[in-house]
Symmetry: C2
Subunit: 433 residues, 2 copies
């Protein structure tokens, strides 16, 4: 059978990895796909550098639009990242009747609705396994492997940089700044780490997973996003003594009144599988009503792990390339006319457990006053520890049962006005996955 013709946009980390894997495993891949996957054109900024890497059998251009408009090309592989230009290129490729494979979570989280609609109208596929969880086939698991289930919730460690930083803070007692500097030295964090440490990258991925889990539109702007820049090492150490470990989790859950969609540092039991996903590894735990909990674990970033997902998409698209669109898996798991209009809940409506740490004046009756304030807001205390602090003060740590975020906010507001307080209240959310 004739080879399928690929056009690559970008030959950076993921583009270079994709090129490597397609060359090295060409035989293994075509034994599976039933035909050759052939890169016929690559768009890059540095022509000489690209030429040195890929040799002379491939057309190289610095005009990305030349690739998306090339009539010979069947599938455009968008690996340049960014949003504005990537959006134009992807839409133009679709308009030219080409299938698209992309690793671009920022693009799809913000413009997924537009892009998927354009693709459906044109009868082409946009595949994006590499956009979430790197080489872990988590999108395939949710879109295809769990179709029997009403998915109840999922929770994932879907940003390797922050998981590495939190792992180092815990195991080596580093501060956030120290761990970040180390991550940057080792190449786990970029020079500008904002997208990772502020939680935006994780929220983009979570938004896509939530859409496929529940059959709701992509709603990145509705996600609650809290990164790890304010995490204090002392809370990691205290939590460890209490049997909990701190992870930056993306959590989405179906509730009677809407969908929770939130990224924030989360305490989970130390012996749980997710708590033991360390270093830069990723994992997603999914709860379906029939299957119960399943977990998917692997490398969430890096040249070849991400390329593994890109190439898996290429094989899938190659298989269904000439098939009637009705035979294909819907972009967001559910048929486009069957998407549900369930609201995304504001963070104030979320329910979980809470860890509250505060420094108070060390005098009698303090504990009763604070417990009384929590009780006013119907917040029930699961456990409490009191530790001596400096100069006539004490540190109190409360672990609450499940409560609503709005009530916790109000209780914290009330507590912080009390005369006995010697600090603000530090709050972390707690889950029992």
């Amino acid at each position: 059978m004739e080879s399928i013709k690929l056009g690559l946009l970008g030959l950076g980390v993921v583009g270079g990895g994709t090129w490597n894997v397609l060359q090295r495993n060409a035989e293994e891949i075509s034994r599976r796909a039933g035909r050759q996957l052939e890169v016929v054109q690559i768009a890059v900024r540095d022509l000489a550098k690209a030429r040195a890497r890929v040799g002379h059998d491939v057309v190289i251009t610095d005009d990305a639009f030349a690739v998306v408009n090339n009539p010979e090309i069947d599938i455009v592989v968008e690996l340049i990242g960014g949003v504005t230009l990537a959006r134009q290129l992807v839409l133009q490729a679709i308009d030219q009747g080409k299938h698209v494979v992309t690793a671009n979570k920022a693009l799809l989280a913000q413009h997924g609705t537009e892009i998927f609609e354009a693709a459906s109208a044109k009868g082409v596929m946009v595949a994006f396994e590499a956009a979430v969880g790197g080489g872990i086939p988590i999108i395939k698991a949710i879109r295809e492997g769990l179709t029997a289930n009403r998915i109840e919730w999922l929770a994932g460690i879907i940003n390797g940089t922050t998981n590495y930083i939190l792992s180092e803070m815990r195991s080596r007692g580093l501060t956030f700044d120290q761990a970040l500097a180390q991550a940057q030295q080792l190449g786990y964090a970029e020079a500008d780490p904002a997208a990772d440490v502020l939680g935006h990258d994780a929220a983009q991925k979570l938004t896509l997973l939530a859409s496929m889990a529940f059959g709701i539109p992509v709603q990145y702007s509705r996600a609650y996003i809290e990164g790890i820049t304010d995490v204090q090492d002392q809370d990691i150490q205290i939590a460890e003594r209490l049997g909990f470990r701190l992870k930056l989790l993306g959590i989405t859950r179906r509730r009677a009144d809407g969908i929770e969609l939130r990224v924030h540092p989360t305490l989970i039991p130390s012996q749980s599988l997710l708590a033991n996903v360390e270093d830069a590894m990723n994992a997603v735990l999914v709860n379906g009503d029939a299957v119960g909990q399943t977990l998917y674990y692997g490398k969430g970033a890096g040249e070849e792990p991400t390329a593994s997902a890109v190439v898996a998409d290429l094989v899938d698209v190659t298989r269904l390339h000439t098939a009637d669109p009705g035979h294909r898996v819907p972009h967001l798991a559910f048929q486009p006319h069957s998407m549900a209009d369930i609201p995304v809940l504001a963070i104030e409506q979320v329910r979980c457990g809470y860890y509250l740490r505060m420094t108070v004046s060390d005098q009698s009756g303090v504990l009763a006053q604070i417990a009384g304030e929590l009780a006013k807001f119907d917040i029930s205390i699961g456990s409490m520890i009191q530790e001596p602090a400096d100069q006539g003060t004490a540190t109190l740590i409360f672990l609450t049962h499940v409560a609503m975020e709005r009530d916790i906010n109000e209780a914290i507001g009330a507590i912080e006005t009390m005369a006995i307080m010697r600090s603000k209240v530090t709050r972390l959310r707690v889950e029992t996955f």
Copy 2:
């Protein structure tokens, strides 16, 4: 679009679960599949019992061949288990041009080649996600999610009964017989536990995974199979002190000279993810050259977890039901004409680490004699502990570096003839996954 018509063979644990899930999640499933999945006929042994369960809208019969020959039916769901009758029914369904979904690992491990050839000749699909790892979409991950990779090895806990027994032996100090009796009381083990505890069930599953990982024919008869019936609780406790945990693993690995295909009790580091898969849970760790290690975890058995995989297959088959066969994923991941003729290695050719425990006469020079015997066979010792035993004897435990099984066998044979020996040598294989 018209509904897809299903015929169920069997309404036992998995059949009943499949019926439940199809009813309860009918809306969620058709929102994904784009059409209704409708059970139109069920074959069972006990008509009255089935009637009470499914009501009056479904035709019930005690003649399974009436279902496979029913011209109205698109997909036959084989959930009766066993081999002889199941084989006849599946082949007859294929001959009638029907697609087949089955959970029957014994059938496919023994007759997979014949069944997949018949299906390819007829242009129909045989889907079997439920045959391995219950609700974990592990077959989809290997067949589709990891197509970019040259898979190097995989290792899995793919029998929940034995994992439960080993977990209880370790955590509660039970003997094998005690843990088995408890597993039977709780319904985790059958009255006749042979297929589970002797390793046959795991070997059937492993054989299918190996075929899809490496593109080799299904070769159940070549698998090395060793169950857990001879596992002694003292070895579990000793291994724990050494930082290892005992699991019944299915392991298949590509070597220069062939494929390892083996099921046996295996010591793995206690802190590894696989070691922490406890109770009746399953997990499979796959190593691909591009993606590195990925892990898939979930419930490996049970009514609805297994039904989750059956229904996922039903949705997949429904999507591709009328598509040209060229658009479908090959049954064993690789195109039928691209299967490789790589030999399966005999157990004597396998390489791994070894744990050797023996009781010897407590006299000077004993350790040197045994170490000398191991050295003769080029077996290098990683660590050793000596413990006092009864009445002038000592227990020696050696952990070797990677060695070839043939050499270990010969060394053990030589050691057991030594005059200082007061016991046979207990041998466990060690891996570092």
